[in-house]
Amino acid sequence: MQSKSLTISYLTDNSVEISLLGDWCLTCEVVTWQSFQVQFEQYPEPPEKIDFVSSDLESWDSKLLLFLVKLDAYAQSRHIPVNWDGLPDGAKGLLRLATEVPERSGARRRTRTRSLVYRLGTWAMDGVEELTGLATFLGEWLLSIGRFFTGRASFRWVDFNRFLQSAGAGALPIVGIISLLVGAVLGFVGAVQLQMFGAQIYVADLVGLGVVREMGAMMTAIIMAGRTGSAYAAQLGTMQVNEEIDALRTMGISPMDFLVLPRTLALILMLPLLCLWSDALGILGGLLVGVSILDIALLEYLQQTKAAISLADIATGLIKSLIFAVVVSLAGCLRGLQSGRNSAAVGNATTSAMVTAILLIVIWDALTTIIFNRLGI
Protein backbone atom coordinates (compact mmCIF):
# COMPACT_ATOMS: atom_id res chain seq x y z
CA MET A 1 0.00 0.00 0.00
CA GLN A 2 1.46 3.41 -0.89
CA SER A 3 0.39 5.25 2.23
CA LYS A 4 -0.41 4.25 5.75
CA SER A 5 -4.03 5.31 5.82
CA LEU A 6 -5.47 1.95 6.75
CA THR A 7 -4.57 -1.67 7.48
CA ILE A 8 -6.72 -4.69 6.79
CA SER A 9 -6.43 -7.63 9.20
CA TYR A 10 -8.07 -11.00 8.70
CA LEU A 11 -9.13 -12.42 12.01
CA THR A 12 -9.56 -16.08 12.91
CA ASP A 13 -13.35 -15.82 13.24
CA ASN A 14 -13.54 -15.13 9.48
CA SER A 15 -14.08 -11.41 9.97
CA VAL A 16 -12.07 -8.47 8.70
CA GLU A 17 -10.89 -5.58 10.82
CA ILE A 18 -10.12 -2.29 9.05
CA SER A 19 -7.93 0.06 11.09
CA LEU A 20 -8.03 3.68 9.98
CA LEU A 21 -4.74 5.50 10.50
CA GLY A 22 -3.41 9.06 10.28
CA ASP A 23 -5.06 11.92 8.41
CA TRP A 24 -8.04 11.43 6.14
CA CYS A 25 -8.49 14.91 4.69
CA LEU A 26 -9.39 16.10 1.18
CA THR A 27 -5.86 17.30 0.56
CA CYS A 28 -4.17 14.20 2.06
CA GLU A 29 -2.86 11.22 0.14
CA VAL A 30 -4.89 8.21 1.21
CA VAL A 31 -5.32 4.73 -0.17
CA THR A 32 -7.27 4.70 -3.43
CA TRP A 33 -10.45 2.69 -3.67
CA GLN A 34 -8.97 0.46 -6.35
CA SER A 35 -5.94 -0.54 -4.31
CA PHE A 36 -8.13 -1.08 -1.27
CA GLN A 37 -10.35 -3.36 -3.29
CA VAL A 38 -7.38 -5.35 -4.60
CA GLN A 39 -6.04 -5.80 -1.09
CA PHE A 40 -9.46 -6.66 0.29
CA GLU A 41 -10.10 -9.31 -2.32
CA GLN A 42 -6.76 -11.06 -1.78
CA TYR A 43 -8.58 -13.17 0.76
CA PRO A 44 -10.24 -16.03 -1.18
CA GLU A 45 -13.51 -16.19 0.76
CA PRO A 46 -15.59 -13.07 1.40
CA PRO A 47 -15.47 -12.34 5.15
CA GLU A 48 -18.52 -12.75 7.31
CA LYS A 49 -18.21 -9.36 8.93
CA ILE A 50 -16.29 -6.06 8.68
CA ASP A 51 -15.26 -4.20 11.83
CA PHE A 52 -13.59 -0.82 12.25
CA VAL A 53 -10.90 0.47 14.56
CA SER A 54 -10.29 4.21 14.55
CA SER A 55 -8.16 4.72 17.64
CA ASP A 56 -5.18 5.76 15.47
CA LEU A 57 -7.22 8.03 13.22
CA GLU A 58 -5.94 11.56 13.69
CA SER A 59 -8.21 13.76 11.58
CA TRP A 60 -10.90 13.20 9.02
CA ASP A 61 -13.35 15.05 6.81
CA SER A 62 -15.43 14.30 3.71
CA LYS A 63 -12.58 12.20 2.31
CA LEU A 64 -13.24 9.48 4.90
CA LEU A 65 -16.97 9.66 4.24
CA LEU A 66 -16.42 9.17 0.50
CA PHE A 67 -14.53 5.99 1.32
CA LEU A 68 -17.19 4.78 3.76
CA VAL A 69 -20.06 5.45 1.35
CA LYS A 70 -18.28 3.38 -1.29
CA LEU A 71 -17.49 0.65 1.18
CA ASP A 72 -21.13 0.58 2.25
CA ALA A 73 -22.34 0.09 -1.33
CA TYR A 74 -19.63 -2.49 -1.98
CA ALA A 75 -20.40 -4.50 1.14
CA GLN A 76 -24.11 -4.42 0.37
CA SER A 77 -23.53 -5.70 -3.15
CA ARG A 78 -21.51 -8.60 -1.74
CA HIS A 79 -23.84 -9.18 1.23
CA ILE A 80 -21.15 -8.59 3.85
CA PRO A 81 -22.51 -7.13 7.10
CA VAL A 82 -20.58 -4.10 8.35
CA ASN A 83 -20.31 -3.07 11.98
CA TRP A 84 -19.74 0.70 11.99
CA ASP A 85 -19.41 0.99 15.75
CA GLY A 86 -15.65 1.47 15.69
CA LEU A 87 -15.96 4.72 13.72
CA PRO A 88 -15.94 8.20 15.29
CA ASP A 89 -19.47 9.29 16.28
CA GLY A 90 -19.52 12.17 13.80
CA ALA A 91 -18.59 9.91 10.89
CA LYS A 92 -21.33 7.46 11.88
CA GLY A 93 -23.87 10.29 11.95
CA LEU A 94 -22.83 11.62 8.54
CA LEU A 95 -22.83 8.14 7.01
CA ARG A 96 -26.35 7.58 8.35
CA LEU A 97 -27.43 10.92 6.82
CA ALA A 98 -25.83 10.10 3.50
CA THR A 99 -27.45 6.69 3.21
CA GLU A 100 -30.75 7.52 4.92
CA VAL A 101 -32.66 8.90 1.95
CA PRO A 102 -32.49 6.48 -0.97
CA GLU A 103 -32.06 7.91 -4.42
CA ARG A 104 -35.46 8.77 -5.83
CA SER A 105 -36.12 6.43 -8.70
CA GLY A 106 -36.30 8.16 -12.05
CA ALA A 107 -34.68 11.34 -10.73
CA ARG A 108 -31.44 10.86 -12.61
CA ARG A 109 -31.31 12.28 -16.10
CA ARG A 110 -30.46 10.18 -19.08
CA THR A 111 -28.92 11.88 -22.05
CA ARG A 112 -30.58 10.70 -25.21
CA THR A 113 -29.27 11.32 -28.69
CA ARG A 114 -32.10 12.13 -31.07
CA SER A 115 -32.23 11.29 -34.74
CA LEU A 116 -31.69 13.95 -37.37
CA VAL A 117 -35.36 13.84 -38.38
CA TYR A 118 -36.43 14.36 -34.78
CA ARG A 119 -34.11 17.33 -34.36
CA LEU A 120 -35.18 18.83 -37.68
CA GLY A 121 -38.81 18.46 -36.66
CA THR A 122 -38.19 20.08 -33.27
CA TRP A 123 -36.33 22.90 -34.96
CA ALA A 124 -39.18 23.52 -37.38
CA MET A 125 -41.77 23.41 -34.62
CA ASP A 126 -39.70 25.85 -32.56
CA GLY A 127 -39.62 28.12 -35.60
CA VAL A 128 -43.39 28.00 -35.95
CA GLU A 129 -43.79 28.68 -32.24
CA GLU A 130 -41.43 31.63 -32.50
CA LEU A 131 -43.41 33.11 -35.39
CA THR A 132 -46.72 32.54 -33.59
CA GLY A 133 -45.27 34.25 -30.53
CA LEU A 134 -44.16 37.19 -32.64
CA ALA A 135 -47.54 37.50 -34.36
CA THR A 136 -49.42 37.25 -31.05
CA PHE A 137 -47.20 39.88 -29.52
CA LEU A 138 -47.67 42.25 -32.45
CA GLY A 139 -51.41 41.74 -32.36
CA GLU A 140 -51.62 42.35 -28.62
CA TRP A 141 -49.49 45.43 -28.99
CA LEU A 142 -51.78 46.88 -31.66
CA LEU A 143 -54.82 46.15 -29.49
CA SER A 144 -53.05 47.83 -26.61
CA ILE A 145 -52.42 50.92 -28.74
CA GLY A 146 -56.10 50.89 -29.59
CA ARG A 147 -56.96 50.82 -25.87
CA PHE A 148 -54.50 53.64 -25.27
CA PHE A 149 -56.14 55.97 -27.81
CA THR A 150 -59.60 55.17 -26.46
CA GLY A 151 -58.31 55.87 -22.94
CA ARG A 152 -58.92 52.36 -21.62
CA ALA A 153 -55.30 51.27 -21.12
CA SER A 154 -53.81 51.15 -17.61
CA PHE A 155 -51.00 53.50 -18.42
CA ARG A 156 -48.76 55.30 -15.98
CA TRP A 157 -47.69 58.71 -17.24
CA VAL A 158 -44.93 58.89 -14.64
CA ASP A 159 -43.30 55.83 -16.19
CA PHE A 160 -43.83 57.22 -19.67
CA ASN A 161 -42.10 60.49 -18.77
CA ARG A 162 -39.18 58.62 -17.26
CA PHE A 163 -38.78 56.51 -20.41
CA LEU A 164 -39.07 59.66 -22.56
CA GLN A 165 -36.19 61.19 -20.67
CA SER A 166 -33.94 58.15 -20.71
CA ALA A 167 -34.63 57.32 -24.38
CA GLY A 168 -34.48 60.98 -25.43
CA ALA A 169 -32.37 63.53 -23.58
CA GLY A 170 -30.30 60.78 -21.95
CA ALA A 171 -29.19 59.51 -25.36
CA LEU A 172 -28.17 62.88 -26.82
CA PRO A 173 -24.45 62.74 -25.90
CA ILE A 174 -23.71 59.25 -27.23
CA VAL A 175 -25.77 59.74 -30.41
CA GLY A 176 -24.13 63.14 -30.89
CA ILE A 177 -20.54 61.94 -30.53
CA ILE A 178 -20.97 58.93 -32.78
CA SER A 179 -22.82 60.91 -35.48
CA LEU A 180 -20.19 63.65 -35.46
CA LEU A 181 -17.40 61.13 -35.89
CA VAL A 182 -19.22 59.12 -38.58
CA GLY A 183 -19.94 62.36 -40.48
CA ALA A 184 -16.27 63.31 -40.26
CA VAL A 185 -15.09 59.88 -41.41
CA LEU A 186 -17.55 59.93 -44.30
CA GLY A 187 -16.29 63.39 -45.29
CA PHE A 188 -12.69 62.34 -45.07
CA VAL A 189 -13.11 59.17 -47.15
CA GLY A 190 -15.12 61.09 -49.76
CA ALA A 191 -12.61 63.94 -49.83
CA VAL A 192 -9.69 61.67 -50.72
CA GLN A 193 -11.58 60.37 -53.75
CA LEU A 194 -13.22 63.59 -54.89
CA GLN A 195 -10.01 65.62 -54.60
CA MET A 196 -8.53 63.57 -57.44
CA PHE A 197 -11.16 65.12 -59.77
CA GLY A 198 -11.00 68.54 -58.20
CA ALA A 199 -14.57 68.06 -57.08
CA GLN A 200 -14.01 68.43 -53.36
CA ILE A 201 -17.03 70.70 -52.98
CA TYR A 202 -19.22 67.64 -53.56
CA VAL A 203 -18.08 66.30 -50.20
CA ALA A 204 -20.93 68.41 -48.87
CA ASP A 205 -23.42 66.54 -51.07
CA LEU A 206 -21.96 63.17 -50.17
CA VAL A 207 -22.01 63.76 -46.42
CA GLY A 208 -25.33 65.58 -46.44
CA LEU A 209 -27.24 63.00 -48.46
CA GLY A 210 -25.47 60.02 -46.90
CA VAL A 211 -26.18 61.16 -43.38
CA VAL A 212 -29.71 62.43 -43.89
CA ARG A 213 -31.03 59.55 -45.99
CA GLU A 214 -29.11 56.61 -44.52
CA MET A 215 -26.55 56.94 -41.81
CA GLY A 216 -28.45 59.19 -39.40
CA ALA A 217 -31.43 56.90 -39.03
CA MET A 218 -29.40 53.72 -39.05
CA MET A 219 -26.70 54.85 -36.62
CA THR A 220 -29.28 56.19 -34.19
CA ALA A 221 -31.32 53.00 -34.38
CA ILE A 222 -28.29 50.79 -33.76
CA ILE A 223 -27.13 52.92 -30.85
CA MET A 224 -30.61 52.87 -29.36
CA ALA A 225 -30.87 49.11 -29.83
CA GLY A 226 -27.72 48.71 -27.76
CA ARG A 227 -28.57 51.39 -25.27
CA THR A 228 -32.33 51.22 -24.78
CA GLY A 229 -33.67 48.08 -26.49
CA SER A 230 -31.37 45.82 -24.52
CA ALA A 231 -32.21 47.71 -21.32
CA TYR A 232 -35.91 47.04 -21.96
CA ALA A 233 -35.18 43.33 -22.41
CA ALA A 234 -33.11 43.20 -19.22
CA GLN A 235 -35.74 45.10 -17.19
CA LEU A 236 -38.64 42.93 -18.31
CA GLY A 237 -36.55 39.76 -18.03
CA THR A 238 -35.62 40.57 -14.44
CA MET A 239 -39.26 41.34 -13.68
CA GLN A 240 -40.10 37.93 -15.09
CA VAL A 241 -37.54 36.29 -12.79
CA ASN A 242 -38.97 38.13 -9.75
CA GLU A 243 -42.54 37.12 -10.68
CA GLU A 244 -43.39 40.84 -10.96
CA ILE A 245 -45.10 40.25 -14.29
CA ASP A 246 -47.20 37.44 -12.80
CA ALA A 247 -48.16 39.85 -10.00
CA LEU A 248 -49.42 42.36 -12.59
CA ARG A 249 -51.40 39.68 -14.44
CA THR A 250 -53.10 38.40 -11.30
CA MET A 251 -54.22 41.95 -10.54
CA GLY A 252 -55.82 42.07 -13.95
CA ILE A 253 -53.32 44.63 -15.24
CA SER A 254 -52.11 43.88 -18.74
CA PRO A 255 -48.29 43.82 -18.87
CA MET A 256 -48.71 44.94 -22.46
CA ASP A 257 -50.46 48.18 -21.42
CA PHE A 258 -48.49 48.75 -18.29
CA LEU A 259 -44.96 47.79 -19.29
CA VAL A 260 -44.66 47.51 -23.06
CA LEU A 261 -46.77 50.45 -24.17
CA PRO A 262 -44.95 53.27 -22.32
CA ARG A 263 -41.57 51.91 -23.40
CA THR A 264 -42.45 51.52 -27.07
CA LEU A 265 -44.30 54.84 -27.31
CA ALA A 266 -41.41 56.67 -25.67
CA LEU A 267 -38.91 55.24 -28.14
CA ILE A 268 -41.21 55.82 -31.13
CA LEU A 269 -41.55 59.47 -30.16
CA MET A 270 -37.88 60.01 -29.40
CA LEU A 271 -36.04 58.08 -32.10
CA PRO A 272 -37.07 60.41 -34.99
CA LEU A 273 -36.01 63.41 -32.90
CA LEU A 274 -32.68 61.78 -32.14
CA CYS A 275 -32.41 61.05 -35.86
CA LEU A 276 -32.68 64.80 -36.64
CA TRP A 277 -30.02 65.51 -34.00
CA SER A 278 -27.83 62.84 -35.56
CA ASP A 279 -28.36 64.35 -39.06
CA ALA A 280 -27.30 67.78 -37.81
CA LEU A 281 -24.17 66.52 -36.05
CA GLY A 282 -23.25 64.25 -38.97
CA ILE A 283 -23.33 67.25 -41.31
CA LEU A 284 -21.28 69.21 -38.77
CA GLY A 285 -18.68 66.43 -38.78
CA GLY A 286 -18.42 66.57 -42.56
CA LEU A 287 -18.25 70.34 -42.43
CA LEU A 288 -15.35 70.28 -39.98
CA VAL A 289 -13.38 68.02 -42.34
CA GLY A 290 -14.37 70.04 -45.41
CA VAL A 291 -13.43 73.38 -43.91
CA SER A 292 -10.25 72.33 -42.15
CA ILE A 293 -8.73 69.86 -44.62
CA LEU A 294 -10.22 70.72 -48.01
CA ASP A 295 -10.15 74.51 -47.51
CA ILE A 296 -13.78 74.91 -48.51
CA ALA A 297 -15.29 78.15 -47.23
CA LEU A 298 -17.79 77.69 -44.43
CA LEU A 299 -20.65 79.41 -46.21
CA GLU A 300 -19.90 77.65 -49.46
CA TYR A 301 -20.09 74.27 -47.73
CA LEU A 302 -23.39 75.20 -46.09
CA GLN A 303 -24.84 76.48 -49.38
CA GLN A 304 -23.82 73.29 -51.14
CA THR A 305 -25.36 71.13 -48.38
CA LYS A 306 -28.58 73.14 -48.47
CA ALA A 307 -28.84 72.74 -52.24
CA ALA A 308 -28.11 69.01 -52.04
CA ILE A 309 -30.67 68.04 -49.43
CA SER A 310 -34.37 68.33 -50.07
CA LEU A 311 -37.14 68.00 -47.51
CA ALA A 312 -38.01 64.66 -49.10
CA ASP A 313 -34.55 63.37 -48.17
CA ILE A 314 -35.04 64.33 -44.55
CA ALA A 315 -38.50 62.78 -44.54
CA THR A 316 -37.02 59.54 -45.95
CA GLY A 317 -34.65 59.32 -42.99
CA LEU A 318 -37.41 60.14 -40.54
CA ILE A 319 -39.76 57.49 -41.90
CA LYS A 320 -36.99 54.94 -41.63
CA SER A 321 -36.21 55.96 -38.08
CA LEU A 322 -39.87 55.60 -37.16
CA ILE A 323 -39.87 52.00 -38.40
CA PHE A 324 -36.58 51.35 -36.63
CA ALA A 325 -38.06 52.68 -33.38
CA VAL A 326 -40.91 50.19 -33.61
CA VAL A 327 -38.48 47.37 -34.38
CA VAL A 328 -36.00 48.21 -31.59
CA SER A 329 -38.57 48.77 -28.85
CA LEU A 330 -40.72 45.76 -29.76
CA ALA A 331 -37.70 43.45 -30.02
CA GLY A 332 -36.54 44.54 -26.57
CA CYS A 333 -39.95 44.13 -24.94
CA LEU A 334 -40.76 40.86 -26.71
CA ARG A 335 -37.49 39.20 -25.72
CA GLY A 336 -37.82 40.50 -22.17
CA LEU A 337 -41.32 39.08 -21.77
CA GLN A 338 -40.21 35.77 -23.33
CA SER A 339 -37.27 35.52 -20.91
CA GLY A 340 -36.89 32.45 -18.72
CA ARG A 341 -36.71 32.63 -14.97
CA ASN A 342 -33.00 32.66 -14.25
CA SER A 343 -30.02 34.95 -14.61
CA ALA A 344 -28.66 33.23 -17.71
CA ALA A 345 -32.06 33.55 -19.41
CA VAL A 346 -32.08 37.32 -18.80
CA GLY A 347 -28.67 37.52 -20.44
CA ASN A 348 -29.93 35.50 -23.40
CA ALA A 349 -33.00 37.73 -23.67
CA THR A 350 -30.82 40.84 -23.82
CA THR A 351 -28.50 39.37 -26.43
CA SER A 352 -31.42 38.12 -28.44
CA ALA A 353 -33.12 41.53 -28.30
CA MET A 354 -29.99 43.18 -29.69
CA VAL A 355 -29.49 40.62 -32.43
CA THR A 356 -33.16 40.67 -33.48
CA ALA A 357 -33.24 44.47 -33.52
CA ILE A 358 -30.05 44.98 -35.50
CA LEU A 359 -30.93 42.25 -38.00
CA LEU A 360 -34.36 43.75 -38.60
CA ILE A 361 -32.91 47.27 -38.82
CA VAL A 362 -30.54 46.25 -41.59
CA ILE A 363 -33.21 44.28 -43.47
CA TRP A 364 -35.71 47.14 -43.24
CA ASP A 365 -33.09 49.64 -44.29
CA ALA A 366 -32.25 47.65 -47.38
CA LEU A 367 -35.93 47.18 -48.24
CA THR A 368 -36.90 50.84 -47.77
CA THR A 369 -33.88 52.04 -49.72
CA ILE A 370 -34.94 49.88 -52.67
CA ILE A 371 -38.59 50.94 -52.37
CA PHE A 372 -37.76 54.66 -52.17
CA ASN A 373 -35.40 54.26 -55.08
CA ARG A 374 -38.10 52.63 -57.23
CA LEU A 375 -40.58 55.31 -56.26
CA GLY A 376 -38.03 57.93 -57.17
CA ILE A 377 -38.13 59.67 -53.78
Partner: protein
Amino acid sequence: MAKGAQVEIGNRSGLAHIEVRGMTMAYGDFLIQKDLNFTINQGDIFIIMGGSGCGKSTLLRHLVGLHPPAAGEVLYQGSSFWQLAPNERNALMRRMGVLYQGGALWTAMTLAENIALPLEEYTSLTPAEVNELVSYKLSLVGLKGFEDYYPSEISGGMQKRAALARAMALDPETLFFDEPSAGLDPVSARLLDDLIIELRDSLGATIVVVTHELASIFAVGNNSVFLDAASKTMIAEGDPKRLLTETENPIVRKFLTRGEEGYP
Protein backbone atom coordinates in the same frame (compact mmCIF):
# COMPACT_ATOMS: atom_id res chain seq x y z
CA MET B 1 -10.61 22.07 7.06
CA ALA B 2 -11.30 20.97 10.58
CA LYS B 3 -8.41 19.00 12.01
CA GLY B 4 -8.10 16.29 14.64
CA ALA B 5 -10.48 17.82 17.09
CA GLN B 6 -13.37 16.60 14.95
CA VAL B 7 -12.91 13.15 16.38
CA GLU B 8 -13.70 14.42 19.82
CA ILE B 9 -16.08 17.30 19.54
CA GLY B 10 -16.45 17.61 23.29
CA ASN B 11 -12.95 19.00 23.58
CA ARG B 12 -13.66 21.91 21.30
CA SER B 13 -16.96 23.17 22.58
CA GLY B 14 -16.82 26.01 25.06
CA LEU B 15 -13.94 27.80 23.35
CA ALA B 16 -14.67 31.25 21.98
CA HIS B 17 -15.07 30.83 18.22
CA ILE B 18 -16.43 34.22 17.17
CA GLU B 19 -16.38 37.28 19.39
CA VAL B 20 -18.22 40.49 18.62
CA ARG B 21 -16.85 43.48 20.51
CA GLY B 22 -18.54 46.87 20.70
CA MET B 23 -19.82 46.54 17.16
CA THR B 24 -21.97 49.19 15.49
CA MET B 25 -23.64 48.40 12.20
CA ALA B 26 -24.77 51.17 9.88
CA TYR B 27 -25.47 51.77 6.21
CA GLY B 28 -23.95 55.20 5.69
CA ASP B 29 -25.57 57.45 8.29
CA PHE B 30 -28.41 55.02 8.88
CA LEU B 31 -27.78 53.21 12.18
CA ILE B 32 -28.92 49.58 12.28
CA GLN B 33 -27.61 48.33 15.64
CA LYS B 34 -25.05 49.59 18.16
CA ASP B 35 -23.05 48.30 21.16
CA LEU B 36 -23.19 44.62 20.20
CA ASN B 37 -21.08 42.41 22.49
CA PHE B 38 -21.43 38.65 22.47
CA THR B 39 -19.43 35.45 22.05
CA ILE B 40 -20.22 32.42 19.93
CA ASN B 41 -18.52 29.32 21.32
CA GLN B 42 -17.24 26.38 19.36
CA GLY B 43 -19.93 23.77 18.81
CA ASP B 44 -22.74 26.24 19.60
CA ILE B 45 -25.94 26.51 17.68
CA PHE B 46 -26.22 30.23 18.08
CA ILE B 47 -29.50 31.98 17.31
CA ILE B 48 -29.73 35.59 16.17
CA MET B 49 -33.33 36.58 16.90
CA GLY B 50 -35.52 39.65 16.99
CA GLY B 51 -38.53 41.12 15.25
CA SER B 52 -38.70 41.93 11.55
CA GLY B 53 -36.38 44.69 10.40
CA CYS B 54 -34.22 44.73 13.54
CA GLY B 55 -31.04 43.94 11.60
CA LYS B 56 -30.70 40.17 12.06
CA SER B 57 -29.67 39.50 8.49
CA THR B 58 -27.41 42.55 8.55
CA LEU B 59 -25.65 41.12 11.60
CA LEU B 60 -25.19 37.85 9.70
CA ARG B 61 -23.71 39.75 6.75
CA HIS B 62 -21.28 41.40 9.16
CA LEU B 63 -20.33 38.06 10.72
CA VAL B 64 -19.53 36.45 7.37
CA GLY B 65 -17.42 39.41 6.30
CA LEU B 66 -19.65 40.91 3.61
CA HIS B 67 -19.79 44.29 5.43
CA PRO B 68 -17.21 45.98 7.61
CA PRO B 69 -18.64 47.18 10.95
CA ALA B 70 -19.05 50.95 11.36
CA ALA B 71 -17.33 50.60 14.74
CA GLY B 72 -15.99 47.78 16.89
CA GLU B 73 -14.71 44.46 15.63
CA VAL B 74 -15.44 40.81 14.93
CA LEU B 75 -12.81 38.33 16.15
CA TYR B 76 -12.42 34.83 14.74
CA GLN B 77 -10.46 32.65 17.12
CA GLY B 78 -8.88 35.78 18.49
CA SER B 79 -7.95 37.57 15.26
CA SER B 80 -9.86 40.58 14.03
CA PHE B 81 -11.40 39.91 10.62
CA TRP B 82 -10.91 43.34 9.08
CA GLN B 83 -7.33 43.65 10.28
CA LEU B 84 -6.27 40.52 8.40
CA ALA B 85 -4.53 40.74 5.04
CA PRO B 86 -6.95 40.17 2.12
CA ASN B 87 -5.60 36.68 1.38
CA GLU B 88 -5.91 35.67 5.04
CA ARG B 89 -9.43 37.05 5.02
CA ASN B 90 -10.26 34.94 1.98
CA ALA B 91 -8.82 31.85 3.62
CA LEU B 92 -10.96 32.54 6.67
CA MET B 93 -14.07 33.03 4.56
CA ARG B 94 -13.47 29.67 2.88
CA ARG B 95 -13.80 28.05 6.29
CA MET B 96 -17.33 29.43 6.56
CA GLY B 97 -20.41 28.16 4.77
CA VAL B 98 -23.44 30.38 4.28
CA LEU B 99 -26.99 29.34 3.48
CA TYR B 100 -28.68 32.46 2.14
CA GLN B 101 -32.34 33.20 2.66
CA GLY B 102 -33.47 32.33 -0.85
CA GLY B 103 -30.82 29.66 -1.33
CA ALA B 104 -28.87 31.87 -3.77
CA LEU B 105 -27.98 28.93 -5.96
CA TRP B 106 -26.44 30.05 -9.22
CA THR B 107 -29.41 29.57 -11.49
CA ALA B 108 -27.43 29.08 -14.67
CA MET B 109 -25.63 26.05 -13.23
CA THR B 110 -26.86 22.58 -12.34
CA LEU B 111 -26.86 21.50 -8.70
CA ALA B 112 -23.68 19.50 -9.31
CA GLU B 113 -21.94 22.51 -10.86
CA ASN B 114 -23.06 24.71 -7.97
CA ILE B 115 -21.45 22.41 -5.44
CA ALA B 116 -18.42 21.62 -7.58
CA LEU B 117 -17.45 25.27 -8.09
CA PRO B 118 -15.87 25.87 -4.63
CA LEU B 119 -14.24 22.43 -4.79
CA GLU B 120 -12.71 23.16 -8.18
CA GLU B 121 -11.57 26.63 -7.10
CA TYR B 122 -10.01 25.76 -3.78
CA THR B 123 -8.91 22.13 -3.86
CA SER B 124 -6.70 20.12 -6.19
CA LEU B 125 -9.12 17.22 -6.44
CA THR B 126 -9.46 15.40 -9.75
CA PRO B 127 -12.78 15.79 -11.65
CA ALA B 128 -13.74 12.23 -10.65
CA GLU B 129 -13.15 12.99 -6.97
CA VAL B 130 -15.11 16.22 -7.27
CA ASN B 131 -18.03 14.29 -8.76
CA GLU B 132 -17.95 11.75 -5.95
CA LEU B 133 -17.84 14.48 -3.37
CA VAL B 134 -20.74 16.32 -5.04
CA SER B 135 -22.86 13.16 -4.94
CA TYR B 136 -21.96 12.60 -1.30
CA LYS B 137 -22.85 16.18 -0.33
CA LEU B 138 -26.17 15.89 -2.15
CA SER B 139 -26.88 12.58 -0.43
CA LEU B 140 -26.32 14.27 2.95
CA VAL B 141 -29.26 16.58 2.24
CA GLY B 142 -31.37 13.82 0.69
CA LEU B 143 -30.95 14.92 -2.93
CA LYS B 144 -29.00 12.02 -4.37
CA GLY B 145 -29.64 11.69 -8.09
CA PHE B 146 -30.53 15.37 -8.65
CA GLU B 147 -27.03 16.33 -9.83
CA ASP B 148 -28.09 17.42 -13.32
CA TYR B 149 -31.11 19.50 -12.33
CA TYR B 150 -31.16 23.27 -12.56
CA PRO B 151 -32.35 25.18 -9.48
CA SER B 152 -35.46 26.33 -11.34
CA GLU B 153 -36.53 22.72 -11.90
CA ILE B 154 -36.80 21.73 -8.23
CA SER B 155 -39.02 22.91 -5.38
CA GLY B 156 -38.14 25.67 -2.92
CA GLY B 157 -37.41 23.22 -0.11
CA MET B 158 -35.13 21.21 -2.36
CA GLN B 159 -33.37 24.40 -3.48
CA LYS B 160 -32.70 25.22 0.14
CA ARG B 161 -31.27 21.78 0.84
CA ALA B 162 -29.13 21.99 -2.30
CA ALA B 163 -27.87 25.38 -1.13
CA LEU B 164 -26.99 23.75 2.19
CA ALA B 165 -25.03 21.09 0.33
CA ARG B 166 -23.15 23.89 -1.42
CA ALA B 167 -22.50 25.68 1.87
CA MET B 168 -20.98 22.44 3.20
CA ALA B 169 -18.88 21.81 0.11
CA LEU B 170 -15.57 22.74 1.71
CA ASP B 171 -16.29 21.14 5.11
CA PRO B 172 -16.59 24.53 6.83
CA GLU B 173 -15.90 25.09 10.52
CA THR B 174 -18.74 27.54 10.77
CA LEU B 175 -22.12 27.35 9.06
CA PHE B 176 -24.39 30.38 8.83
CA PHE B 177 -28.09 30.01 8.13
CA ASP B 178 -30.24 32.99 7.16
CA GLU B 179 -33.90 32.17 7.90
CA PRO B 180 -33.51 28.46 7.10
CA SER B 181 -37.18 27.61 7.60
CA ALA B 182 -38.61 30.58 5.66
CA GLY B 183 -40.85 29.31 2.90
CA LEU B 184 -40.80 25.70 4.07
CA ASP B 185 -43.76 23.64 5.25
CA PRO B 186 -43.72 22.69 8.96
CA VAL B 187 -42.54 19.16 8.31
CA SER B 188 -39.68 20.25 6.04
CA ALA B 189 -38.77 22.98 8.53
CA ARG B 190 -38.62 20.41 11.31
CA LEU B 191 -36.47 18.09 9.17
CA LEU B 192 -34.11 20.98 8.45
CA ASP B 193 -33.85 21.69 12.19
CA ASP B 194 -32.96 18.05 12.82
CA LEU B 195 -30.40 18.25 10.04
CA ILE B 196 -28.82 21.33 11.64
CA ILE B 197 -28.39 19.50 14.95
CA GLU B 198 -27.12 16.39 13.19
CA LEU B 199 -24.57 18.45 11.25
CA ARG B 200 -23.34 20.18 14.37
CA ASP B 201 -22.90 16.84 16.12
CA SER B 202 -21.32 15.06 13.15
CA LEU B 203 -19.24 17.81 11.58
CA GLY B 204 -18.38 19.42 14.88
CA ALA B 205 -19.17 22.72 13.20
CA THR B 206 -20.28 25.90 14.90
CA ILE B 207 -23.65 26.99 13.60
CA VAL B 208 -25.16 30.47 13.53
CA VAL B 209 -28.85 30.74 12.67
CA VAL B 210 -30.86 33.87 11.94
CA THR B 211 -34.51 33.13 12.56
CA HIS B 212 -37.70 34.29 14.18
CA GLU B 213 -39.36 30.87 14.12
CA LEU B 214 -39.97 30.11 17.78
CA ALA B 215 -40.24 26.36 17.25
CA SER B 216 -36.80 26.33 15.60
CA ILE B 217 -35.31 28.64 18.19
CA PHE B 218 -36.23 26.33 21.07
CA ALA B 219 -35.54 23.13 19.13
CA VAL B 220 -32.00 23.85 17.98
CA GLY B 221 -30.54 26.83 19.84
CA ASN B 222 -28.27 26.57 22.86
CA ASN B 223 -27.16 30.20 22.82
CA SER B 224 -28.61 33.38 21.36
CA VAL B 225 -28.66 37.13 21.08
CA PHE B 226 -31.86 39.19 20.89
CA LEU B 227 -31.79 42.37 18.80
CA ASP B 228 -34.32 45.10 19.44
CA ALA B 229 -35.43 47.35 16.60
CA ALA B 230 -36.59 50.24 18.80
CA SER B 231 -33.54 50.72 21.00
CA LYS B 232 -31.22 49.58 18.17
CA THR B 233 -29.14 47.31 20.35
CA MET B 234 -29.14 43.82 21.87
CA ILE B 235 -31.36 43.42 24.91
CA ALA B 236 -30.84 39.76 25.86
CA GLU B 237 -28.45 36.87 25.32
CA GLY B 238 -28.09 33.27 26.41
CA ASP B 239 -29.84 29.93 25.99
CA PRO B 240 -33.28 30.68 24.50
CA LYS B 241 -34.99 28.06 26.68
CA ARG B 242 -33.52 29.72 29.76
CA LEU B 243 -34.46 33.17 28.45
CA LEU B 244 -38.07 32.02 28.17
CA THR B 245 -38.27 31.16 31.87
CA GLU B 246 -35.92 33.73 33.34
CA THR B 247 -35.97 36.93 31.35
CA GLU B 248 -37.58 39.99 32.90
CA ASN B 249 -37.41 42.03 29.74
CA PRO B 250 -40.99 42.56 28.51
CA ILE B 251 -40.00 42.81 24.82
CA VAL B 252 -38.11 39.52 24.91
CA ARG B 253 -40.94 37.87 26.87
CA LYS B 254 -43.48 39.07 24.34
CA PHE B 255 -41.40 37.72 21.47
CA LEU B 256 -40.72 34.33 23.03
CA THR B 257 -44.38 33.79 24.00
CA ARG B 258 -45.80 34.96 20.66
CA GLY B 259 -47.24 38.09 22.28
CA GLU B 260 -49.20 36.25 24.94
CA GLU B 261 -47.14 37.58 27.81
CA GLY B 262 -45.13 40.69 28.50
CA TYR B 263 -45.20 44.19 27.10
CA PRO B 264 -47.65 45.84 26.83
